[in-house]
C-alpha cells in the first residue's frame, strides 16, 4: 500500500478496483468524471488487471451493458452525474426488479449549488423511488470504506446499490492508502434462467415482493439489527457503523442529524462553537464576571444509509430528545425520515421530538450548506434549548432568540471586509480561440444578412456558454440532446422563425441521433449545427464514438457524423471551419435556406487539443476604438484599457476570428506582424 493525495473520485476508483470490480462504464459529467478516468489510467498502466472500462455512448447504454455483465457474474460499477441517472432510469427501474448476480454499484455524483449542473435533484430520492439501497458518504475516507460494502451488499441481496457522494466529497482531496496492483474478481459466466432474467408482468410482481422483503432486511442491517438470513446465504456485516450516534454531555435533550458532507460542516461548526464558548468562559474568569453559557448537551447522528431508512437506529437516536435539527443538502430526505419515525413513536405513546430542517424552514432549502451557516443555525437552536431550560417561553423566547441572532449578525457584518470597490463579474466563458465562438457568430451574421428571425436552441456542453453577451446565441437549454427536438416543437408553434439547433459531437452521439430521426420522419424544417471539436470538452476532454479512441487502448474506426446524418435522410449537409467567417456564413445560409431538415457541421478541434498559433496583434494607430471586436465576439483575449483594444498574449491562440471581424484591418494575424 502507498499513501497518495487523491480526489474523492480518484480514491473511489482505487477502492472499487481493490474490491474486485471487473467492468466499469459510464458517461462523463461533473462531478463524477474522474472516477472512470482513474480506472482507465490504472488499466492502461497495467496496475489494474482483468478490468474492462469504457466511456459508453450515454448513461443508458452504460447501465444496460453493466446489467449484462452483472448477470454473467461480474462485479460492475456504473458512474454518472445526477442528471445522468435520469437518462439511465429506464434500465435502472427494471434492473432492480430483475436483480443482479455480480455486485452492481451505481455511483451517482450529486451537485448541490448547483455548481456545474442543470438541477439540484437528490439521488437519495431516486433511490427510494426506484427502491434501491443508497449509501451517502460524508468524506473521501468514508466513501472508500463504503464501496466494498456496497459490492458485498449488492451480492448478498442481489440488488443494485447506489452510492451517492456530492461535489464536495468527489472534488475534495486527502491522502489515502492504495494498493499497487489490483485484479478484477473472476467471473463465472452467464447461466440461462428465463424465470429470472426475462422481465414479464408475473416476474415483475414476484420481483416487487422480493424487493420489499430485502429492503426490510437491509433496513435492519443499516440499523445494526442482525438480519437472520440473507437471500444468497452470504453473511451480513456491520453497516450500522455508517449511522453513528454520539452523545455529547449528560442526558441530551436535543439532537443534530446530518447527511453527507454536511456532517463534516456540522462537526466543524460544533468545534467553532465549543471553542467560542471556552474562550468566553476563560475571558469571564479573567474579568471575574459571570461565566457564559457552555454548549448544551446534544446527541449527534450521521445517516450514511439514507435508503432504506434505518428506522430502528433512528428510533434509538430520537429517544428522550425534545428537538432535532437536520443538516442535509438538496432535499429533506433525513428530515422526512425523522418526522416519520417521530410519528411512529407518538403513535406508540413514546416521546416524539420536534424536527427542524430544510422543509420546516429552519435550514437552507436550496444551494450548498457550509460551516458558517450551520454555526448560525446551531447557535439559534442551542439558544432556544438553553432559554427553555431557564423557563423562558412564548413570545419572550422568540424575542430573545431574535435579539441574540441580530447581535451575531451585526458582529459578522462588522467583521466582514468592506473594500468599497466595484468588481466586474467573472462568469465562465468560451475560451479564447474556441471554435464555438465562430460558429455562433456566423449563424447570427447569416440570419442577419438573410433578414430572417431565428431561434437558437442550445444544448449541454461548453457551447451553452454561447448564451453570454455579446454572442447571446443560445435561446434555450434544457437537457442532453434536447436542442434538436425542441427546435422542432418551436418550429411547429412558431413557424415564422428559422429554427437552428446546436449540438456538440459527444452530445450528438449521446442523445442527438433520435432527434434527427424524428425531424426527418416528421418533416421538420430545422437546421442542426453540429459543433464538432473532436472531444467531450466541458467535462475535461473525454473520447467519444466520433473520435475512435477507447479507454482500453485499441482505436476503433471513428463514427462519422455526416454519414450518420446522411443515413438518417438529412439531404442538405454543409461543412465549415468555424475560424473562417465567410465560409461559415455561406454554409449556414445554404442550410437555413434549404426546406426540410438540414445540417451544418462546424469542424475545428477544441483549443485544449492543439498547440496555439502565435497571438494576433492590434495596431494602436489603425484601431478606431469602435470596439466591434469586443462587442461582437467577446473573446476573453481581447481587453480594453480605456484607450485601445488590447490582446492578452498569454490567452490568444491566434485563431484569427477577430481579424475577420475588425472593419479597419487593425488586427493582424501573427504571420503578417512577425
Amino acid at each position: 500500500m502507498t499513501k497518495k493525495l487523491l480526489m474523492g473520485n480518484e480514491a473511489f476508483a482505487h477502492a472499487a478496483l481493490e474490491a474486485g470490480v471487473a467492468v466499469v462504464a459510464g458517461y462523463p459529467g461533473t462531478p463524477s468524471s474522474e472516477l472512470i478516468e482513474t480506472v482507465a489510467k490504472r488499466v492502461q498502466a497495467g496496475a489494474a488487471e482483468n478490468v474492462h472500462v469504457e466511456w459508453s455512448t450515454n448513461e443508458k447504454a452504460a447501465l444496460e451493458l453493466l446489467a449484462g455483465a452483472s448477470y454473467a457474474g461480474a462485479r460492475t460499477l456504473f458512474t454518472c452525474k445526477q442528471v445522468g441517472l435520469n437518462v439511465a432510469s429506464d434500465p435502472l427501474m427494471s434492473l432492480n426488479y430483475v436483480g443482479v448476480e455480480g455486485g452492481c454499484v451505481i455511483y451517482v455524483a450529486d451537485d448541490p449549488g448547483p455548481i456545474s449542473s442543470q438541477t439540484e435533484q437528490d439521488t437519495r430520492r431516486f433511490a427510494s423511488f426506484a427502491k434501491i439501497p443508497a449509501l451517502d458518504p460524508a468524506s473521501v475516507e468514508q466513501g472508500v470504506e463504503m464501496l466494498p460494502c456496497a459490492f458485498a451488499l449488492s451480492e448478498r441481496y442481489r440488488t443494485p446499490v447506489i452510492m451517492r457522494p456530492t461535489t464536495r466529497v468527489c472534488h475534495s482531496s486527502t491522502f489515502v492508502d492504495v494498493a499497487e496492483k489490483t485484479q478484477g474478481a473472476p467471473v463465472k459466466g452467464f447461466s440461462k434462467d428465463d424465470s429470472r432474467w426475462v422481465i414479464f408482468p408475473a416476474r415483475a410482481y414476484r420481483g416487487h415482493k422480493e424487493i420489499n422483503g430485502r429492503l426490510a432486511k437491509i433496513a435492519d442491517e443499516f440499523s445494526g439489527v442482525c438480519a437472520s438470513e440473507t437471500p444468497s446465504g452470504l453473511p451480513s456485516e456491520d453497516l450500522s457503523r455508517f449511522n453513528p450516534i454520539e452523545n455529547h454531555g449528560d442526558a441530551p435533550k436535543i439532537g443534530i442529524a446530518c447527511g453527507g458532507v454536511s456532517t463534516a460542516y456540522a462537526k466543524e461548526a460544533l468545534s467553532i462553537l465549543e471553542h467560542a464558548a471556552k474562550q468566553a468562559a476563560s475571558a469571564a474568569d479573567v474579568a471575574g464576571g459571570e461565566r457564559g453559557e457552555a454548549l448544551p448537551s446534544y446527541r449527534f447522528m450521521q445517516i450514511g444509509t439514507p435508503f432504506p431508512f434505518p428506522e430502528v437506529r433512528v428510533d434509538e437516536f430520537l429517544d428522550g430528545l425534545d428537538a432535532v435539527i437536520v443538516f442535509e443538502e438538496l432535499d429533506s430526505v433525513i428530515e422526512d425520515g425523522l418526522v416519520h419515525v417521530a410519528g411512529l413513536r407518538a403513535a406508540r405513546g413514546k416521546s416524539a421530538p420536534r424536527v427542524l430542517g430544510r422543509a420546516s424552514g429552519a435550514c437552507r432549502d436550496a444551494g450548498e450548506n457550509d460551516a458558517d451557516d450551520i454555526v448560525e443555525r446551531l447557535s439559534k437552536f442551542f439558544d432556544e434549548a438553553l432559554l427553555r431550560r431557564e423557563g423562558v417561553s412564548g413570545d419572550e423566547l422568540m424575542r430573545k432568540i431574535e435579539e441574540r441572532a441580530n447581535a451575531r449578525a451585526r458582529a459578522r457584518e462588522a467583521e466582514a471586509p468592506n473594500l468599497d470597490i466595484e468588481l466586474p463579474a467573472r462568469p465562465p466563458v468560451l475560451c479564447a480561440g474556441c471554435p464555438h465562438r465562430g460558429s455562433f457568430y456566423a449563424c447570427k451574421q447569416a440570419l442577419k444578412k438573410m433578414r430572417v428571425r431565428g431561434i437558437f436552441s442550445g444544448d449541454i456542453g461548453c457551447y451553452t456558454l454561447g448564451n453570454a453577451k455579446p454572442l447571446d446565441a443560445v435561446d434555450t437549454c434544457l437537457c442532453m440532446g434536447a436542442g434538436i427536438t425542441m427546435a422542432q416543437g418551436l418550429g411547429v408553434a412558431d413557424p415564422a422563425a428559422k429554427q437552428l439547433a446546436f449540438v456538440g459531437d459527444s452530445t450528438f452521439f449521446a442523445s442527438g441521433i433520435t432527434g434527427v430521426a424524428n425531424a426527418v420522419y416528421n418533416q421538420h424544417d430545422i437546421t442542426v449545427c453540429v459543433l464538432d471539436n473532436s472531444t467531450t470538452a466541458m467535462t475535461g476532454g473525454q473520447p467519444h464514438p466520433g473520435t475512435g479512441n477507447t479507454l482500453m487502448g485499441p482505436k476503433s474506426a471513428p463514427l462519422s457524423i455526416e454519414r450518420v446524418l446522411e443515413a438518417l435522410g438529412v439531404e442538405c449537409i454543409e461543412f465549415a471551419n468555424p475560424h473562417h467567417l465567410d465560409e461559415s456564413i455561406d454554409a449556414v445560409t445554404k442550410a437555413v435556406s434549404f426546406e426540410g431538415p438540414s445540417a451544418v457541421i462546424f469542424r475545428a478541434p477544441c483549443v485544449n487539443l492543439v498547440k496555439p498559433e502565435a497571438p494576433v496583434s492590434i495596431n494602436a494607430e489603425t484601431c478606431t476604438v469602435c470596439k466591434k471586436c469586443i462587442t461582437s465576439i467577446g473573446c476573453p483575449a481581447i481587453g480594453f484599457n480605456g484607450e485601445v483594444a488590447t490582446i492578452d498574449e498569454t490567452l490568444c491562440t491566434g485563431c484569427g476570428l477577430c481579424t475577420q471581424v475588425c472593419l479597419f484591418g487593425a488586427i493582424a494575424p501573427a504571420r503578417q506582424s512577425a
Binding site: T30, V375, R412, I421, P424, P428, G634, P636, F640
Partner: protein
C-alpha cells in the same frame, strides 16, 4: 490548523498549486484536506481552491475554509483577491498578483477595470498584503505558465512575528513537494523558477 485559500481564474493553475501545498503538509505528517472548483467555472470563471492543514495534529473534517478563517489568501489576480477577501482572517496575509485580467464583462462595460484602485483597497487592510510583480518575475523565470510557482514561492517564504515560516513549510520542503507533484519533465524548470524568484526577491 493552517488554512490557505488560493483564488484565480480557471486555467491559471490553482489546482496544481493546492496539490503542492497539500503534499508538503502531508510530508510533515499533517492531516490535509483540499477542495477544488472543477467544472464549468474552469472555463475562465472565478475559481477557488481550499487547503486545510492540521499542523497541530488536528484531523481536518470540512474541506472548505470558513469566513475569516484563512491564514493566507494567495490570489492569481487582484480582483479575485478582493472577491474572496471575506475568507481571509483580518490578520491573515494576502499574497496577490498585481495585474488585472479583463473579464469579457469588463471589456463590454463602460467602466474600465484597472488594477490600481483594487490594489490600493487591498493594501488598506489590517493584515499584511504582499503585492507580487508577477510580470517581471515571469519574464525572469522565462515561462508565462509558472504563475502558480512564482506566487507559491512568495507565499511559502512569508514569516510570522517570530520569524518562523508562516505556513510552517520550509522552501526545501516546498521544493520536495514540487518534485512529487509536477510531471517529471517539468520538475527542473519549476525548481529553477523557485530559485530565480528567491534570488530576485531575496527570499530564503
Amino acid at each position: 490548523m493552517k488554512n490557505v485559500v488560493l483564488t484565480g481564474i480557471g486555467g491559471q493553475g490553482t489546482v496544481l498549486a493546492a496539490k503542492i501545498l497539500a503534499q508538503a503538509a502531508q510530508a510533515r505528517g499533517w492531516h490535509v484536506r483540499t477542495a477544488e472548483t472543477i467544472g464549468m467555472a474552469q472555463r475562465g470563471g472565478s475559481v477557488t481552491s481550499h487547503v486545510r492543514m492540521g499542523n497541530e495534529g488536528e484531523h481536518v473534517a470540512s474541506p472548505l475554509v470558513g469566513a475569516g478563517a484563512a491564514d493566507m489568501l494567495i490570489a492569481f489576480e487582484p480582483g479575485e483577491a478582493a472577491r474572496m477577501l471575506g475568507l481571509l482572517s483580518a490578520h491573515g496575509v494576502l499574497v496577490t498578483a498585481s495585474n488585472v485580467k479583463q473579464p469579457v464583462t469588463a471589456s463590454l462595460s463602460k467602466t474600465v477595470y484597472v488594477a490600481a484602485p483594487v490594489l490600493e483597497a487591498l493594501e488598506r487592510r489590517e493584515g499584511a498584503t504582499v503585492v507580487v510583480d508577477e510580470s517581471a518575475l515571469l519574464e525572469l523565470v522565462g515561462n508565462s505558465k509558472a504563475l502558480n510557482i512564482v506566487l507559491l514561492t512568495v507565499a511559502i517564504s512569508q514569516r510570522d512575528a517570530q520569524g518562523n515560516p508562516l505556513l510552517g513549510i520550509s522552501l526545501d520542503e516546498f521544493k520536495e513537494a514540487i518534485r512529487v507533484c509536477v510531471k517529471p519533465k517539468f520538475v527542473d524548470m519549476n525548481l529553477a523558477a523557485v530559485d530565480a524568484v528567491c534570488k530576485e526577491l531575496g527570499l530564503r
